[in-house]
Symmetry: none
Subunit: 193 residues, 4 copies
DNA sequence: CATGAATGAGACTTCATTCAT
DNA sequence: GATGAATGAAGTCTCATTCAT
């Protein structure tokens, strides 16, 4: 029962997702061929097609599985009294920072394959999610410079997450620093109102 | 000026660059085929090869031609007394903002094709340029949060440039707003030191 | 009869045949995949292989099960005194018309997939049957034009059967009309002798 | 100028069409792969794609090039006073017989790949042509049996053409015989009116 | 300056089939 | 009686690139 060949039970689907995400993030979606994924897993290309209908299906499944926390965050925020208070917005940022930290490779993929994302069906979905988040956080009728601050707050967290690779510092510390800057930005956007 | 069909002199090379940049920015580098470029120009693929050695050569030429102002900015900043004063850093940001505004499509391309950029020889070149800029602007030995602020300042300008498409406001105004936020960020990074 | 879900007893084999014939006739043999058949039946491909050795086996079984009446007709005609009288030939046509009417989809399949039939082992079998029928009906040593009449008689019945879909008239009436024309043709072939 | 490698000038497109028609007619459309066509021509698959956009494009081009005479016949018949007299209908049959004789392989292909034809864009085109021909020839308001006669007349000519392979007689003689039977059928359809 | 013709590599995808469970 | 997982072969098609003319 302890199986002869290692880690080959009912987890092939999962293994495909893991390898695919790794390669997609590393080389980009188009430059990663199914042959490559299959070879790395030591299965045939056809095996991939047993588990996923198309190449796009693989990435869709990754988004579906990994971005649920963000979905839930948005839902939660939507249910709060609108417009959000500054305190609430900070809470949103805090939770968002955590949610993004939970799927760094996916966000790295998104950021590095924006051109591709636009053609993928999932791209539209994600874009709308982001817009809703921006909508929740930004000061609707404030001056343009404050709107930019809010957008910048979100992007700072993304950037903070991505650049932990190129920074020599601890990922978690970088995340906290980025969150702090984001908080600052959003606070300023409120004060000046 | 006396030619029969307008704008078709010895400028084919230029026209190829224009169309290529447009398509690369719109669809991504890998998804844009030379056939597509050639068709849009109503020439044959072989004609492209008369002007450029390879596909990569086309994009390299674009970077070489369009990013000179940024190059010069860095050179200029390098010659100033180090480390830069806050006032100088602001001047760098100002100039950088203008330089980037001069080649928005190229930056859009870079941002949306990061995965590709990494494989392209030009990618490394650009990356180093950005790092030098960051190096010039950031407060070397300050706390992590200030370093993030400096990086964020640069990214805010990029983001500001890119999101002018999705914002309803005037591009130039957006640019100014982004520049302002960037200035703020960098100033804060200095104060707290 | 007391089963929970209707018509699902030990009749899976039958159900496979039904769906397969339907799809083969509609889309052609090669364009119909086992996946498609399995999906429509809500079973797995592997299940098909429990009931049939190969894809070709499915179509062979259909011919074996459905063309028995035609087989018997030929056997019966073979036992009559040769060469057949005009009256007997008419009887053969009448019976053939009925037999064909009993397996219209199969004939539609044959007519529309002749290229495929030639590669299928069953193709040769069916071809020989048809040749024997032609041999029974045609006026061996008559002029060429009469031979054509006899062949045409058989084909008219086939055509009559197939074109009932595209005609607005009642299938049974069309069949009778086709039979009548066929009778005429064969009668003429006899007279002129 | 007599060229070193035999028959390779500007005629590749033509050669592709020839080989393709031969193989399509012999093995069917789906069972004939582009690899097969390319190999027989001693070129690469990619070369086929230089001359034709898709596999379907190859067969479309064949129909366009070879069925022009039939097109012209229909146009000509349409310009005659309607409804056609018996004499005119006979003339149509005569010309049709000749036109079909000029592209026997194509008609063989059509007859043997009806299932495929239905999916091909060209299928609809050809079907409409045939319907217009039937419309020109058949006795609109006569009894059903006469309508069948008219349809049968056309099909007899097709059948006559196809079965020349399996008959031992001379193709041209068979064609004449089929034409004669078709004439008879159409004449009968008129008399009884 | 540019084209017409072709290539070789490789992409995604589908298929009939197998076999342990 | 049937499934889940996988395979190997083959399919259509696209791409960057080359070269004689």
């Amino acid at each position: 029962m302890s199986s002869s060949s290692p880690q080959r039970r009912g987890n092939t689907r999962q293994r495909i997702q893991d390898v695919a995400l790794e390669l997609f993030a590393e080389q980009g979606y188009e430059k990663t061929s199914l042959r490559e994924i299959a070879e790395r897993l030591e299965v045939t290309k056809a095996a991939l097609y047993y588990h996923f209908k198309t190449k796009e299906d693989i990435i869709i499944s990754l988004f579906e599985d990994l971005t649920r926390p963000i979905d839930e965050l948005i839902e939660w925020a939507d249910e709060q009294p609108q417009p959000l208070t500054l305190e609430m917005k900070k809470e949103v940022l805090r939770r968002y920072s955590e949610a993004v930290a939970g799927c760094v490779p996916l966000f790295r993929f998104m950021q590095e394959n924006q051109a591709t994302m636009r053609e993928l069906s999932i791209g539209e979905t994600m874009k709308q999610r982001l817009f809703r988040l921006v909508g929740l956080v930004r000061t609707e009728d404030g001056p343009l410079v404050d709107q930019v601050r809010c957008v910048s707050a979100l992007f700072t967290m993304h950037a903070g997450m991505m650049f932990l690779q190129h920074m020599d510092s601890d990922p978690e510390q970088t995340r906290q620093a980025a969150l702090e800057v984001a908080m600052d930005l959003i606070t300023q956007a409120h004060h000046e109102k």
